[in-house]
Point group: C2
């Protein structure tokens, strides 16, 4: 579907692509040169050789030091994008028929990563702040699972994306985080916390991660894709020490290790506080783009019963069409008008709301924003009247 | 275990690491520079952006054109090392309890990649040329599988590594290949052909791949790790068109796509027939190293009932200890003497031969070869006498 919506001439709010103007090309080029020509032949050769499944030690150390709770580098594994973290979690924690809980809606790529292990994926009721903690209790109660097991068992984990969630752009408040972690700990429910967007706040950093509050009960996934560039495919995972051997075994079976060259290049780029200078430029850009989209929505959707949220960071916002409309049916009409989005239904484990859709505000330029949202409004008016 | 055997001072025949002196560092450095600074800003940005799960089209085209049968670029997918090809094959073709056939012995990483999908892995009898075609018939007969299925079904595929196999170094003859492909086609058994070492022949290229003989019945895995460098983690998969959508879906769920930057760098390196100049230097080096190891074995193992094969290429040879000995028990003694290897038992799906072990002749230098094999012979004599 993304291919259809990325035709030339279409203003696409569909993709989840970071703005390419934020990619630090010169820093990468300098780092490649340093890794291959600046450290002697043994270092260059090591960057091209097989390497440890855990990841390049200095990069693991950087990750551990960058996180706002006490993390040992031995608990860090470098992954081939944070998407791979989801794949490894699925392999290690899911058996056929076991239950997994997700937010409503949730990240599509997580559903795709969990599915090959054939779990039963159950959506937990969620509101503007994410997971409804009171709905957890019932969903987390032990039941007989589909497979051969005869002992009733609870869900393997709850997957949650607390900061500027994909697809909704919503964030969990401090109170909600505290409540969720406390409840999960009380009922013995592991949390898989995905945080690719946490650094992309506009005005204030989000509250501390869930994992910081109960590291032994959580697996944390992070990414370099949104703060450096996705084309290197590097992310990381932080897990309790007891589970690391199983995760490493799964990692080794999946691709032996993440590219050694890329890990050394990124470690080189990260030296000397690069992100402290670089990430504020991404935040400022995305804030401008988000405000342009919100402003266009206010103007163009006037008089239509269309709802949307106002994210405090990240890359996405979430739109709900007037009653009776269906975002999937709207899409071809929108493409006719020259604009694309992702219908929300793909992001639900169950009970999809057909009126919802996801808009990315980071790929299109500020100039395209008004044109694209106006086209979307025209498509909605036409379809709504039809 | 590899970590123990890679202590300083130990001559290691254990690892499967290509010789780092073969890595074309300058070619990579030039290619990084070209990709990031030589093609304009849009091209540099594209190399750092998310990309298609299939892979970078010019690289897919290069792969298709490099293979000795008619392959469309649409049948090629770039993978994060050929190890990932095994992971994707497992996800798409294996269900819990389904049967998978492998050679005896077989590549350990394949066993590790298949295991998370919980198949029943069955070894097919094999000789110095690989799979015994006559043993296929019985092993491939439909049976009830462990899971919920009530329809008897045959194995999902046979995994086979026909050129300079890991771990044995053995290769399939022309006659054996023809017989295997004919029999597999006759009984409807898909083949998964893994060919990471096929270009590393010493004097004569091996016969054409199995897949070239029946492309619709085979999935073919290749790698850039042994002809360029493993640290980029790039391999590829060639599959019948009908199965590509499922493989792509699994690829997307696993890591979205292989690093776009690495794919463009490798495509740049491969231009203008680079491998035609480069690979002969690897062949010559590995041939010298293999001969040095064989020569040392002949000298040092004199009078011991130790058997080994003489590979025509690749990176490994296979040793069988005297009757009553056990390679796993020998290893600590060998490490005491300053030499390491991999006991063969890890490479069997079932019925392991405890007398076998794998030696790599490409990581140690020619000078270390005699010293290491002499140490191994001393360890064998001591253990054998004990």
């Amino acid at each position: 579907m993304l291919k259809v919506t990325e035709k030339p001439g279409i203003i696409s709010f569909a993709g989840g692509l970071p703005s390419p103007q934020t990619f630090p090309i010169e820093a990468f080029a300098d780092a490649c040169e340093k890794v291959l020509r600046g450290g002697g032949v043994d270092s260059a050769r090591a960057s091209l050789q097989y390497a440890a499944s855990e990841g390049y030690r200095p990069l693991c150390e950087w990750v551990a030091a960058s996180l706002p709770w006490d993390v040992s580098p031995d608990q860090v594994m470098i992954t081939t994008g944070s998407q791979q973290g989801l794949d490894l979690v699925a392999k290690v924690l899911i058996d056929e028929g076991s239950r997994v809980l997700v937010e409503t809606p949730t990240y599509l790529g997580a559903l795709q990563a969990f599915t090959p292990m054939e779990p039963q994926i159950v959506g937990v009721a969620s509101d503007a702040e994410g997971v409804d903690v009171d709905d957890l209790e019932g969903k987390a109660a032990p039941t007989l699972r589909t497979g051969a097991s005869v002992t009733p068992e609870g869900p393997r984990f709850l997957y949650v994306l607390p900061n500027f969630q994909n697809p909704t752009g919503r964030s969990m408040s401090e109170a909600r985080r505290a409540a969720l972690v406390a409840r999960a700990a009380a009922i013995g429910l592991p949390l898989v916390e995905d945080n690719p967007y946490g650094d992309l706040w506009f005005d204030h950093p989000p509250p501390p991660p869930l994992t910081a509050r109960n590291p032994e009960g959580c697996i944390y996934l992070g990414s370099f894709s949104k703060v450096l560039a996705p084309g290197l495919r590097l992310g990381f995972m932080v897990a309790p020490k007891a589970i690391m051997p199983k995760l490493l075994q799964a990692k080794q079976a999946a691709d032996l290790h993440s590219p050694s060259f890329n890990q050394r290049v990124v470690a080189e780029v990260l030296k000397d506080g690069f992100l402290d200078r670089h990430v504020p430029t991404i935040r400022a850009l995305y804030k401008r783009q988000c405000h342009a989209m919100l402003s266009a929505l206010r103007t163009e959707m006037a008089g239509l019963d269309v709802q949307w949220n106002e994210p405090d960071g990240g890359m996405f916002l979430w739109v709900r069409l007037p009653e009776g409309m269906n975002a999937t049916e709207l899409l071809p009409k929108a493409v006719e008008h020259g604009v694309a989005f992702v219908p929300g239904s793909a992001f639900y484990a169950d009970h999809a709301d057909p009126r919802t859709l996801r808009l990315s505000f980071v790929t299109a330029t500020v100039e395209q924003m008004g044109v694209g949202i106006a086209a979307l409004a025209r498509a909605i008016r036409e379809q709504h009247g039809a």
